[in-house]
């Protein structure tokens, strides 16, 4: 048994908390749910292995180490994945400084703050690696089964990537603390995390749009220009890719680099961890003044007052701003493709419209949860002289209004080129947003806005229904824009999802 307050003792404490957190995320506390979640995970894993077999089986025995195009492709994919890991790590590292759950207790104890940071960074790196490994596992396993155990080296690359991502996230957070101060770091870090997560994908897509006229992110990586300017296959730049392909020397180098960078960043930054954590704690009581005294109270109906309140709260929510920004960023490539091909490639709408409709559905789902379930003063609204029906309807209006406002410019551009496609996409966006809102209505639970990040935990059914509904509406809109009767079939599926949601809705009981 380890000595209390030692590094291993703190690590086992973190491990226990992390495990329980993960179990509650999967099972939501129920034994039946645990069994169902396990079955769902097994089915999902099996499906992913089949999918992996279908996509990567042909590469299992290929000699890719001397192929520059393959090295460029693998390295590009690794950088793409790493940017997502960095985004996740940045968010987790920020939470270490700002989440007050047990930090007050630990920092008030005589435990060395450096040890606390070291353990927490280790936990973040482990979590980042675990998620990445889980997602990569089907592909690695299939390649290893068909091409030999050398492919298992890819797990080592994933571990190194997670370590480097955590180190970079820590360095970035500390840099933000020093440059912009504790008050602004959280918001900026959240926005940066969202932007980094999307930036590389978007960058590749934009490059591909301009160079090849396609939205495929791999088109730019496989372009003649890229291959002509790529370094020789013996370059150290390809070490991660070579390690992926089973080069054990490259793997040792990549792993040493990853773990070394993480240890160095912890050693470098942990000295001032306590100082930054205390500065972050002071932020919660920092005041934000709003300028509006002179305008006076405005005459509005209760519905308008409620709508205005919803919009004000949405605008002042940094987490939501970063999420919305990410949604909008993901819309940039389709919008750009639309602009580049404006007027001469009408068939492209069929590719673009589903992306836009999907994004609208997902955004509406998040907004609807915040507005409907995340009501911070439920008693106040429930005791106001306004019917519950009117309150709900007003909140729905607020959500749909916000989605309509964000997506209107894209619809207008579409309509300018092809009126029918514009109208259909507008209707599709509204339908996807309305369907996501209805799903949130059916599964509404009383919660605090601050619980937004864990909204999926409260009802995985709602999460899946929301995703499938958005997909169904995206397909319906794309097919309708292509003027095919098949749209009726996918529309029926979309309505079927809503009917299913209504049937199993806790609201009916």
């Amino acid at each position: 048994m380890s000595q209390p307050a030692s590094l291993t003792w703190l690590a086992s404490h973190e491990l226990r908390l992390g495990w329980r957190d993960w179990v509650s995320l999967i099972t939501a506390g129920g034994r039946t749910r645990a069994r169902n979640a396990t079955i769902a995970l097994i089915v999902f894993a099996a499906f992913m292995h089949i999918f992996a077999y279908w996509t990567v089986a042909s590469y299992a025995n290929a000699n890719l180490a001397s192929d520059t195009a393959a090295l460029v492709g693998i390295t590009g994919t690794l950088v793409l994945s790493w940017s997502l890991l960095l985004s996740q790590a940045l968010e987790s590292v920020t939470r270490v400084f700002y989440s007050r759950s047990d930090l007050d207790l630990i920092l008030a104890s005589p435990v060395c703050a450096r040890k606390v940071l070291a353990v927490r960074m280790g936990r973040i790196a482990a979590a980042v690696v675990a998620i990445a490994a889980l997602l990569a596992a089907p592909f690695i396993n299939v390649l290893a089964m068909l091409g030999g155990s050398r492919w298992l080296a890819a797990y080592g690359v994933v571990a190194a990537m997670g370590a480097v991502a955590t180190a970079a996230a820590l360095a970035l957070t500390i840099a933000l603390f020093r440059v912009v101060g504790a008050k602004r770091t959280r918001l900026i870090a959240q926005v940066v995390a969202a932007v980094i997560g999307a930036a590389f994908v978007i960058g590749l897509q934009i490059t591909a749009i301009f160079s090849a006229g396609t939205i495929s992110r791999f088109a730019a990586l496989q372009s003649d220009w890229m291959l002509a300017h790529a370094p020789d296959t013996t370059s150290a730049l390809w070490w991660p890719a070579r390690a992926m392909l089973g080069d054990y020397i490259a793997l040792a180098g990549v792993l040493t680099f990853g773990i070394g960078v993480l240890c160095a960043s912890i050693a470098l930054f942990s000295r001032r961890f306590g100082e930054h954590a205390v500065a972050a704690a002071g932020v919660s009581s920092a005041t934000v003044r709003q300028r509006r005294w002179s305008l006076g109270f405005r005459r509005r109906s209760p519905s308008r007052v409620l709508r205005h309140k919803e919009w004000t709260l949405l605008q002042r929510d940094p987490w939501l701003i970063s999420q919305t920004l990410m949604q909008i960023l993901y819309l940039l490539p389709p919008a750009l493709l639309l602009w580049v091909s404006f007027g001469d490639r009408g068939d492209l709408f069929v590719v673009l419209i589903p992306v836009v409709v999907m994004a609208a559905g997902q955004l509406a789902g998040g907004l609807a949860w915040l507005s409907i379930s995340g009501e911070d003063a439920p008693d106040l609204v429930a005791t106001a002289p306004i019917t519950a029906h009117r309150v709900l309807w007003t909140k729905v209006e607020a959500v749909i209004g916000m989605v309509a406002l964000l997506f209107a410019p894209i619809v207008v551009v579409l309509a300018l080129d092809a009126v029918f496609a514009g109208i259909v996409s507008g209707l599709g966006i509204l339908s996807a947003a309305a369907a996501a809102t209805v799903i949130q209505l059916c599964f509404r639970v009383q919660a605090r806005r601050s619980q937004f990040r864990r909204r999926q935990t409260s009802s995985r059914l709602a999460t899946f229904a929301e995703a499938f509904s958005s997909i169904a509406w995206a397909a319906t809109t794309a097919l309708a824009a292509a003027e095919t009767w098949a749209a009726l079939g996918t529309a029926a599926i979309a309505f079927g999802i809503l009917a299913g949601v209504w049937l199993i809705s806790p609201m009916r009981r």
């Binding site: 009581s285 934000v288 405005r298 005459r299 509005r300 109906s301 308008r304 007052v305 106040l380 806005r449």
Partner: protein, 252 residues
Amino acid sequence: MNLQNHPIALALRGVSKRFDRPAVDTLDLTVYSGEVYALVGPNGAGKTTTLRMVVGLLRPDAGSICIEGIDALSDPVAAKQMTAWLSDEPMIYDKLTPYEYLEFVAGLWRIEPGAAEIRARELIGWLGLQPHAHERCEGFSKGMRQKVALAGALVHDPKLIILDEPLTGLDAGTAKQVKNVLRERVRAGGTVIMTTHILEVAERMADRIGVIAGGRLIAEGTLDDLRRLTGETATSLEDTFLTLVAEQAAAA
């Protein structure tokens, strides 16, 4: 004060509510306009459930609730128009300022903006919130949040103010401010109903006290009335309360 001549502000007749067990059991309760009525009782006695039914946050299984002559079950919107509710852990919007919060509440109750703004400024002044009127509530202490919520409860000039443990967790200064504001409301013709665990508050503030146990009203009246009920004359409300609850438990 002879309250029998005052109009009835709140009348509960045969109100029952059952969860796993009966929480409120055929409760009859009458509160008159212009009085401060304190509902006291042990934990789980049904105090909060009773008040949540009055303000429309719970629907009774049986019985009727009348607020200022309006049937609160058949016309809840009209009843809510003249009622304010303040819970022991008031929820306010962290991202709004007190001023914005009061504007929001006034809008929900359809109060004329000019009058609402004057009232909001008065309340902000009375409760000492002036320096923080334009700061977001996210950094406020519990006492300040309680004051903002109380201002919200009063900004629409309710006839009936219902408070669940209004002074719990407040420091002496803030508690005094809250009591003063409530007394001011009663002087202006309002009615205050509150639950409290602090018997000294009930003793000092309430015109009448209702003792509730097991979802039933077991005693009601002024402090002297209650003392007479227990057959003692020199005890505190605490002793009277404990005697009444013990008698009820023995009878059950």
